[in-house]
């Protein structure tokens, strides 16, 4: 019974133009970012040798450098009177009034008037807190932000450790798949919404709600088969593209004498992208089932785009962000230190997805009992 329903749903989604658009947009987007050119960084991968002039960059936790970098950024923003903030996830440029600008300049003067030896980190933090009060939430002067955004050139030792980690713990392909997940995650925060909404409204459009309500299949079977069928089909191009894009990387790994992780195309996206798709699709199902409208398109597009623009950094800072960014090839040591945060984040979205599906089942059953409409008047024709 469940299997038959599942297959029926798969067939229906495969025939839908929304699904076709999803596949085309997903493939074009990911391919444009990551095909041969995308792995350029990897092609230039060489074991670092002592005496090189440049080894790349890494985030620093040195307090003096953090102060220096943050104050330089503050000086630039004060000189343009334009402060980048992300209060609700979206970029919001803030311009200060004359009075506020005077205060900002004063704070800057207090900090830069001293040498970095005499300016203590506590004083610096206090000054940044005041700047935050002036420009509002979500600026680069929040502690969490400035402590994770100052890059410095790597030393030979750091570069060598990074290289070893990339080859040994990431076996190249895992690092590549993380970059794939970074790009794929962007489109997957939006596109599944349309699949969910379109499926949710399909019965209504086809005037099949009453017929399906009258069947003996349990609500949980109907909703779950729909959800799983759509989830499977959404994942299909994701894993296919992951496999396709991983192949040149796998070959490249062989060339530099590393045994690439063949299954990375399955394991990495399963952890990184599957919970995201689950959550986005399930919420679209829930909102559409509850409202019988396309409301989910607006709500979730804002959520998706907000999450994307809300990233304070393109590498890490997972928090509870829907789109987990890792826009770099490697940084394996940094990733290891943040892996737990990612697992918590993804676990949260997987659980959120499951909860939304359960709520959808409840709403579906309730509507079934009430005769199509969850609230409002039941029309005469419904009887």
């Amino acid at each position: 019974m469940f299997g038959a329903l599942f297959l029926k749903e798969c067939k229906q989604t495969l025939k839908s133009p929304v699904y076709l658009i999803y596949v085309v947009v997903f493939v074009l987007f990911v391919n444009s970012q990551l095909s041969n050119d995308g792995w350029r960084e990897m092609q230039e991968l060489q074991e670092p040798m002592p005496g090189q002039s440049y080894y790349g960059e890494t985030i620093t936790h040195d307090k003096a450098l953090i102060m220096e970098g943050t104050l330089a950024n503050l000086m630039e923003e004060v000189s343009h009177n334009s402060f980048a903030t992300y209060p609700l996830g979206f970029y919001k440029g803030v311009n200060l009034t004359e009075k506020e600008m005077e205060r900002a300049k004063e704070i800057l003067k207090q900090c830069t008037g001293k040498s970095f030896e005499t300016l203590t980190y506590e004083e610096f933090q206090g000054a940044m807190e005041e700047i935050c009060r002036l420009v509002g939430k979500g600026s680069s002067y929040e502690k969490k932000s400035y402590e994770n955004r100052i890059y410095v050139p790597m030393t030979y030792e750091q570069a060598k450790t990074e290289y070893d980690q990339l080859c040994i713990s990431d076996r190249l392909t895992k690092a590549g798949m993380r970059l794939f997940c970074d790009y794929a995650g962007i489109v997957l925060s939006i596109l599944p919404i349309f699949i969910g909404v379109s499926r949710g409204l399909y019965d209504k459009r086809a005037k099949a709600q009453q017929v399906i309500f009258s069947k003996s299949a349990l609500g949980v079977k109907v909703v779950l088969s729909r959800y799983l069928a759509n989830l499977t089909l959404l994942c299909l191009p994701v894993f296919t593209m992951a496999f396709y894009l991983q192949m040149p990387l796998y070959e490249m790994a062989k060339e530099v004498g590393v045994r690439g992780d063949f299954w990375a195309f399955l394991t990495v996206p399963s952890v990184w992208l599957l919970p995201e798709i689950m959550a986005v699709l399930a919420l679209a199902f829930l909102i559409t089932e509850f409202t019988d409208s396309i409301l989910a398109v607006f709500v979730q597009t804002v959520w998706g785009i907000g999450g994307l623009f809300g990233a304070s950094t393109l590498v890490g800072d997972f928090g509870l962000k829907l789109v987990a960014r890792w826009n770099t090839m490697g940084e394996s040591a940094l990733f290891s230190s943040m892996e737990k945060e990612l697992f918590i984040n993804r676990g949260y979205y997987a659980a959120f997805g499951v909860l939304c599906v359960l709520l959808t089942v409840l709403i579906y059953e309730r509507k079934r009992g009430k005769g199509e409409k969850l609230y409002g008047k039941v029309r005469e024709t419904d009887h």
Partner: protein, 205 residues
Amino acid sequence: MEKYGKLTISFVRRQYWPHMVMLLLLVVFSGGFVSFKGLDGMQAARVMEMYGTFGGILLFTPLFMPEQDREIWELERSKQTPMWQVYLPRIVLALFLCILYILLFVELMKRGGGNFDPGILFRGAYCEILFLGSIGFFVSALTNQAVIGYMAAVIYFAFNIGGGKYLGKFALFQMMQGEYGNWSYWFMGAAVLLVFGVFMRERRR
């Protein structure tokens, strides 16, 4: 005239009001997403282009929603009033709401001490918002599904974030880069999409 008024009121009551509410929410919550303080020309254009354009998608994409139901469409077709005359007042309503919506933003930015030419900004923003909305309108007209219309408009918006250079004169987000000359292309594009949307929809079915 009374007939068109009734038709449009019925459309608003049954289908359109949630979109009007969403539009209102877009304005009410704008302070959380964009700043209205002391904006110059390019910053004001950024507010309209990155945020305001969503209003166009909301206003123009759902205009065929009642006729998605084939029975309603067939009933309307059987009447003496041609279908384009059913759609036209809705389009006029959306065009009018779009004017109010943009004026509200311009006023908010002016009150925040903005230093920009409101006339030029209004002209550009109106044509751009109309153009993006007309993409949703056209696609939903052809596919008979508002969802696909929204999808197309959102994808067009997103594509412009990185791929605007491939779209020539029809690329969005030009004003915030100081280019104000594209309004006529947006306007022409929108006019073509609106007219052909109605025309092709009725021919196809």
